[in-house]
Symmetry: C2
Subunit: 776 residues, 2 copies
Amino acid sequence: MSWDSAASISTLLTHTDIYKAASEPPTPDASTPVLGLSSQARSKGYDLVCLPLTTDKWKQRWTEMCLLPTGTDLDTDMAAERRAEAWRAKPGFLRDEVTITQLDEAEGATVLISEWLELDAADDWVRHDAEIALQQELAYASYLNIQTAILPPPRSREYVSSYARTVNACLKNSPYMHISIRLPIYNPSVLEGHLSPIPTSPSLRPSSPVPSTPRLVVSDERGTSETASGNLDGTWEMWDVIRTICDYSTRLSLTLDLTPPLPVKSGFLSKWKAEAIRYLFLPSSTFIANTKGYPVLPKGTQSFIRESMTASTCAMHRPVIILSGANLGLHSLGGELAYSQYLRHLEKTSPAVQAALTSGTVENFAQGYQDYLQAPLQPLMDNLQSVTYQTFEQDPVKYHNYEEAIFQALVDWPGDDKIILCVAGAGRGPIVARALTAIERSGRDAHVYAVEKNPNAYVTLQCRKDAEWGPKVSLLFGDMRFIDVPEQADILISELLGSFGDNELSPECLDADGISMPSSYTAHLAPLSSSKLYNEARAGKDEKSVETPYVVMFQAVNLLSGDGGGTNGRCGPQIQECWEFEHPRRDAVLDERGLPLTNSHNARSAKLVFFIPHSGVLHGLAGYFEAVLYGNIGLSIHPHRKDKISKDMLSWFPLFFPFKEPLYLPSNSELQVSIWRLTNQRQVWYEWHAEAFIDIVSVASAESDVPIGSPRSATYNGSLFSPPRNTPSPLVDANDGFSFDRRASMREPVESGSRVIKIGHTSLHNPGGRSSWIGL
Amino acid sequence: MSWDSAASISTLLTHTDIYKAASEPPTPDASTPVLGLSSQARSKGYDLVCLPLTTDKWKQRWTEMCLLPTGTDLDTDMAAERRAEAWRAKPGFLRDEVTITQLDEAEGATVLISEWLELDAADDWVRHDAEIALQQELAYASYLNIQTAILPPPRSREYVSSYARTVNACLKNSPYMHISIRLPIYNPSVLEGHLSPIPTSPSLRPSSPVPSTPRLVVSDERGTSETASGNLDGTWEMWDVIRTICDYSTRLSLTLDLTPPLPVKSGFLSKWKAEAIRYLFLPSSTFIANTKGYPVLPKGTQSFIRESMTASTCAMHRPVIILSGANLGLHSLGGELAYSQYLRHLEKTSPAVQAALTSGTVENFAQGYQDYLQAPLQPLMDNLQSVTYQTFEQDPVKYHNYEEAIFQALVDWPGDDKIILCVAGAGRGPIVARALTAIERSGRDAHVYAVEKNPNAYVTLQCRKDAEWGPKVSLLFGDMRFIDVPEQADILISELLGSFGDNELSPECLDADGISMPSSYTAHLAPLSSSKLYNEARAGKDEKSVETPYVVMFQAVNLLSGDGGGTNGRCGPQIQECWEFEHPRRDAVLDERGLPLTNSHNARSAKLVFFIPHSGVLHGLAGYFEAVLYGNIGLSIHPHRKDKISKDMLSWFPLFFPFKEPLYLPSNSELQVSIWRLTNQRQVWYEWHAEAFIDIVSVASAESDVPIGSPRSATYNGSLFSPPRNTPSPLVDANDGFSFDRRASMREPVESGSRVIKIGHTSLHNPGGRSSWIGL
């Protein structure tokens, strides 16, 4: 598959650019200043332009109408209020209050909504009028067929719910408009030991001559709330409120502002992976100069952008980079084009992009399957299609490992008697063929029985026996659970494993006295966050869709758990084992036909405790399996171990167990997951449930140990309006583990005791197998 | 209305009772021991009997099959396993394994499921076999047409999710059976400074000769988990997990075990009010002797039972009291009948019962309306029925207060000119009549205009004018917002107030230059818990029903908030004011017809912060109003103030704003509620949303200050199997505020700083008025 190359880069046109262009004589091919600027941008290689929708005139009128000047001059105030009421009744622009008026100016442009709109003002009236103004701006943008509008960031945690409610109302009122919320990736003021409102980057501020009135700076007075904005997750927390209140609208996205310096690796960044990032805002001031003087990005920002540049890190599609201030000449060499050229270089050298371009990689194989929900196969109940067998037979690793396992078992087999192999569920015969190769390599005397219950695949088996295998293989048509094999099998081989190990009923089908391949397998779980998967599961046609496990190639997914941690180390690793099945089963009670009386022995349950280092929203569980075929030969899709055990194996994507209600998890919390494998005479199914806890004593003492942004941990002195420039910030990288990642301190045993309190739970999913089950 | 008198009292038949009866010769009217005991119970005045379903024989067989004795003797173990597998495949009883076998024995009886079933064992096999046994017992009870089975309590917090999952499976498999979970009201072991599994009362334990095997006492080894069982809310927390996992099934209830001593008043008890209590389990050992030697209950237990005895404190219906051990002779005087006689005396003297029997009280008026959801009236959009007017005209207080307000205003009115009164929305004329009385009393010269837009009620007004009022009243037919009244009104009177004040659009309808009655009104909110209301709202026919405010007479409702508290006193009182409307409006901008250009001035919003002293589940918000009519005369349904302002007023039940997803709130958390009153040209609606926080630093330091159950705060020495008897426990009452209610220590300012973290949120309710709105 080919890679849809080239990241999109947009340039930001500022008021200054537009006013300057307006003051110059029009050219023949550009009848308006904006058309001229757009044409220039294209000629410079930018894919898109981004510009403010309104001018300072609009800000001036709105301010004079809606922010009553003093409250002392009643006549003036009443006149303003009369104008405001007339405007509220029929909101609309005057010609010189907007930057664009024509469809051709708007084509392909993204607009910035007025930066000064205080949608989260404490004052009801300011907020009310800001909402009317926002609706007016969006309606005008809609009129000009603009697809996306970028909103100014919320300014305080305190009223972010009002901001969010307004955004939700706008999504309803502008049914075709896509709204993107600009947010800094974190609030850098937390590093300075004090809290202040979320800053906006200088280059996005309109160069307005209108002085701020006292009412306009209300946000400064509200910066004292410490609620959750005093940490690096603060801006994410605001985003979470916004998208939750907007009910995960697919027309809502993020414009992530990368102005603050980024650490090279830090847990708090990974959560953004699971969010719907549509734009990355990148001012030229974030670039530093390399030794030659050309603009390059600090390492942390570099790697964040690189990851974002592949489809594999964003929930909706690859984000557009909005480059601002490239024409300001901040760096001595390279000129305006140096910035976008550098970004394209980053993309070309991105490992994720390269992997996607290389055939044989999972990244390449999975193109188009990312975050796509598939119902797990039910090979026992359904008869698979030939094309399905064919897809799985392409795996370059799986059958190689089967052959090695059979070869080793044959070599290890004691004595010289003929060895009986039985392939249970032979399908179109890939393992039979491998078994024959292994027999030949081993030089042992052996015979293969191939059992298959799919009458259609059985035709293929007959063809292969005639054409390839001959008398070395005996075919048996029937269900492996009930069929009589003429000879007792010494080695029983099957490929009934599912993404979660036992979810294709391998435990119910396999029982032998000799060697079994797989001889054992384990199921593993980790909690995950993904607004994309949450929305996909909800989009299903009925309520059952949110209680059904899916096979998914994970992409816009963030595992929420960390390794260990929690009170007294009660939490396990990031990915935890649920249960194991072994073959053959020991001490089994069987009836006269050799069958178990009940399926009780295949019931399982697990209760797992995960440590959640960084706040996030639980949307589901990631399920993996690992199997031992023979000796140290196995199969694994466990993210931490698959490369050691079965690198580049393609046959299994992980399993996704959705939760129908997202569960908010604070930093340093603990998640207890219960999962059951249940069975009756006809079905097997899973049920799952989770509870959240926090140890207030240990978290509180850990917190008070290392105050966030304490002077000893940060040397970043930058005012918000002079971000680091031309030299790398000493903070970036150097103090990473300390000031960016508080988990280090959490791992210390806490002496002051513990008190674990419950803070939330989900409902029980799939009770009684009502939404999904596997037929026996 | 008459009071359905007499609490139901059930007697518990124990194994000892049954074995003893079996050893006696049968009587002519009782062919079986159980029939004999039931007949005796009826003759002693008991309404019902409760008895164990199974005998010790069953315990013995199950134990021998399912708890493998040693693991050393393989043959014995395999034999047991073979028997177990045969049983698992076809579960069933032998004749002597059950206490009853006939329909007549089962009639009216409630059964106890085998006490020894460990549904929450740590061992998968024990749990699996306990579940099969439970299903078998329930199936047998169902066969005998038994309506309700009482389950033994979960034994540990650790595996309560497995217990709950099993209960949910049983509810599905026995579609007519009601399941009640026995739980002690709290775990008294927390008072002893150590944690242990939830105890079961001695008298409920079967008097089994079978020794416990090592596998049976697994629960003792699991008592080390501190998760949330180390506090007085521990057993409630387990109940919350169970009913959540059972999705609030209406066939699931509580059998609350009152064995532990109860404080006279304590916040942690009130939460039980909002739960589905079907039985109260009360052993005779909980009774103390009064000065004469007769059995009476300690004060705390007394008042808890008294409250429970009226329908106004339980979610489903009045709980049945299961009295156990009355025949053991624990108290020197009164004999067996003294206990039930005492309970009936408690009922007769219960203030709630008496209030319900007294006409004119809200309790009496509201019979049948408790927890019944009604859509709020929309008198502006709809024309009310005469019978609706009639109901409201019966209020003994409301119109009295209107008359007083009018009288005072008339007396205060300056000068001797004729005073013009206008009744806006006169309905069938109750205020017109009161106004005439007030005018007469005041001796002032006045004229009344009565405006009404309901053409049907206007007929009634014409009748009354002809028959009673004559020329003192002028009738005007039309909408008060647009009608021209011939003279400028000096006093504008209306009764458009709703349960939440402005929810019948009083703000949109009233504007006058003179005196307005009401002159102002405020809306108030408090967070509430109620599984009953949650279920009622969910039972609505479509999804909208969970986003619509309802008028409800609250009954099985617990307000979750406390007064003040929280970090730096950031939390307000238990019930908080949202906003105010005043009439006449100041500085209004009006058009030439005197109408406002937009309804912007009637938009409102509030963000309230509540302190949650005790863990609970948020199901909605309680809405109240308070109005000033004139001077210090008002109307109020604010629970803390209504008795001072308008005692015994019946016209308004509170408003209930539901939340569609229950939100778990831990003890000492903070709830931020946002509510908006929004408006467009056609509608007014509310939107609401909540976020939960906890201050980990202040909670942790408060917790470490006063260890729960520290020796200095509790003198209760009782082993679980010798609860206090014949003498009141010194703990009860004496240390109430300290050891039972940790909020006291929470109120102290905390020096070690604060760190408020978010722990959860709801979704936004009723966005854009999609589910409920009020038409303009």
